[in-house]
């Protein structure tokens, strides 16, 4: 399997995804370099989830090419994709936790099923506990997803996404439907994971403040706190790019400053309303 470190971690080349006649993604092109963060804004039905699922190989594009870690995954078979997915963590919009499994089993699921980990049960327990400690839910090991609140389930989803220490993490609307305090906790965890492990992060969201937070905040390893960087030169803002999807088409691609400065009516409405 080719894995060129100099290549972008994720690259879309004129990708189109159709559902019957409807184009959920229409000739979308972008690239995310290692260690970068990409925030994808868009209203419901704009194509955010479809884009993330296409990046994972869960949906096959009708046109264009998708490259992950430098490898063209567009025509790979499901079994071949498992090798690629080993290095990708994902938090689904609905959480995607398995109802019939305990929280520990949910979190250790990728270690048990993705090829190449070969963990003993003790190692799996240890790593699951560690991942749950990261999201401050280590006391929920024996519980079932139905026993947790929506925000806690989302945090377990993050623990499961990062338990394998992936190089790329995809977050699909991580704060959707959550109250502001829980939403802050979740987005702070996204920033913490990114800055602790230097993970490439792709986050789809409809909330402008989530992207703004990711671009202007940093997790300080020494203090263990999230600190605000503002939008100064050299801060995370420089390593965070923004995209806006509008009905499957790329309406904007650039930095936070460019997004704020944009005079496009759709973007202005989007940014101003959420800011």
């Amino acid at each position: 399997m080719s894995d060129d470190q100099s290549q972008p971690v994720l690259r879309f080349e004129r990708v189109t995804v159709r559902f019957d006649e409807y184009k959920a993604l229409d000739e979308v092109s972008f690239a995310v370099e290692a260690g970068e963060s990409l925030v994808i804004f868009g209203a419901a039905g704009g194509g955010k989830t479809v884009l993330l699922k296409t990046a994972l190989g869960l949906l096959r594009p009708d046109g264009g090419r998708v490259y992950v870690f430098g490898q063209d995954i567009t025509d790979l078979r499901e079994q071949e994709l498992f090798g690629i997915r080993r290095d990708i963590g994902v938090l689904f919009q609905e959480g995607g936790l398995f109802d019939s499994l305990t929280i520990e089993e949910n979190v250790s699921y990728p270690l048990e099923n993705l090829a190449g980990f070969d963990c003993t049960p003790e190692e799996m327990h240890q790593r699951a506990e560690e991942a749950l400690r990261f999201v401050e839910l280590e006391h929920t090991l024996e519980k079932f997803p139905s026993e947790l609140s929506g925000g806690m389930r989302r945090r377990v989803g993050i623990a499961r996404a990062v338990v394998t220490e992936p190089r790329l993490v995809l977050y699909d609307s991580p704060t959707a439907g959550l109250d502001p305090i829980t939403a802050y906790t979740i987005i702070a965890l996204v920033a913490k994971q990114r800055d602790l492990k230097n993970t490439t992060t792709v986050m789809a969201t409809h909330r402008y403040q989530d992207g703004h937070f990711l671009a202007t905040s940093r997790y300080n390893r020494e203090t263990g706190q999230i600190e605000q960087l503002g939008e100064r030169e050299g801060g995370n803002g420089a390593r965070t790019t923004f995209m806006v999807l509008h009905e499957g088409r790329l309406a904007f691609q650039g930095t936070l400053a460019e997004l704020k400065a944009s005079a496009d009516p759709y973007l202005t409405k989007f940014v101003k309303r959420e800011d």
Binding site: L58, E94, G95, D99, N113, L114, A115
Partner: protein
């Protein structure tokens, strides 16, 4: 019209692709033996009470109806023979399969449908598991293994139900009932009675899983998938029993 046909043809194609992959996975690694046994428990042991009830009462009703018809020819003594043949050849497999379709095809469709709409199927794929291998193949194996066994039990309980009516209501001698019942059966009847549930098992498991995995549109979609699974698998059972009977009668 073209669009209507295109959708139907695509659905049939998807169904056959699912069936092919599920069958191929029987010999492919990894094997989820625990899931197979769990499904056998749910489908086999779980369906036992309802299958016994249906078997008993269908045998009893058959005995009453047959005895009335046979009385016109003075052949009430042949009740055991008719009850046994009808049950083993046709009613046992069909009724048992219909019960399992109602109970388990709906269960499979709703369980897999819920998993689909809550993105658990996507999560499974993203986390290194083939959902067909993990979810469909164990259900298919379990249904194919348990449905013929359930049919044997339903047949026996049905014949017993016929004996209860013959002995206590029609006042036939037990030996006469059991002798005519036993002698009526041929190897071809038993083969027919066992091949049918085995074939129906494919229809039930694959239909339930197919509609579950293709559920869309939230809880309403899951409900729709469940209804479709029961309706289509029930119709398929009657359709298949017609063809299998035609082959054996020929």
């Amino acid at each position: 019209m073209t669009e209507f046909l295109k959708v139907r043809v695509a659905a049939v194609q998807d169904f056959y692709l699912l069936a092919g992959r599920a069958l191929l996975n029987v010999v492919r690694k990894p094997h989820y033996a625990n899931d197979v046994f769990m499904q056998m428990d749910i489908i086999g042991v779980g369906s036992l009470p309802i299958v016994i009830m249906v078997g008993f009462f269908s045998g009893a009703v058959m005995a009453m109806q047959m005895a009335k018809a046979l009385a016109q020819y003075g052949a009430v003594g042949q009740t055991g023979q008719l009850v046994t043949l009808t049950l083993v050849r046709e009613l046992g497999p069909a009724l048992t399969s219909l019960m399992v379709a109602g109970r388990n095809a709906s269960g499979m469709a709703s369980e897999l449908g819920s998993m689909k709409v809550t993105e658990q199927i996507d999560a499974m794929r993203a986390l290194g598991t083939d959902p067909i291998q993990k979810l469909v193949t164990p259900r298919l194996i379990a249904t194919c293994a348990t449905l013929p066994l359930l049919t044997i039990i339903a047949d026996f309980v049905g014949i017993f139900g016929g004996w209860v009516i013959s002995f206590f209501v029609l006042n036939l001698a037990s030996t006469q009932y059991w002798n005519t019942a036993w002698q009526a059966l041929d190897y071809a009847d038993v083969a027919q009675g066992l091949i049918k549930p085995f074939v129906f098992a494919f229809a039930i498991a694959l239909t339930g899983c197919y509609f579950g995995l293709n559920a869309t549109g939230g809880t309403q979609g899951v409900g729709r998938a469940t209804t479709q699974a029961v309706v289509v698998s029930s119709v398929l059972i009657f359709f298949l029993t017609f063809f299998i009977t035609r082959i054996f009668v020929s």
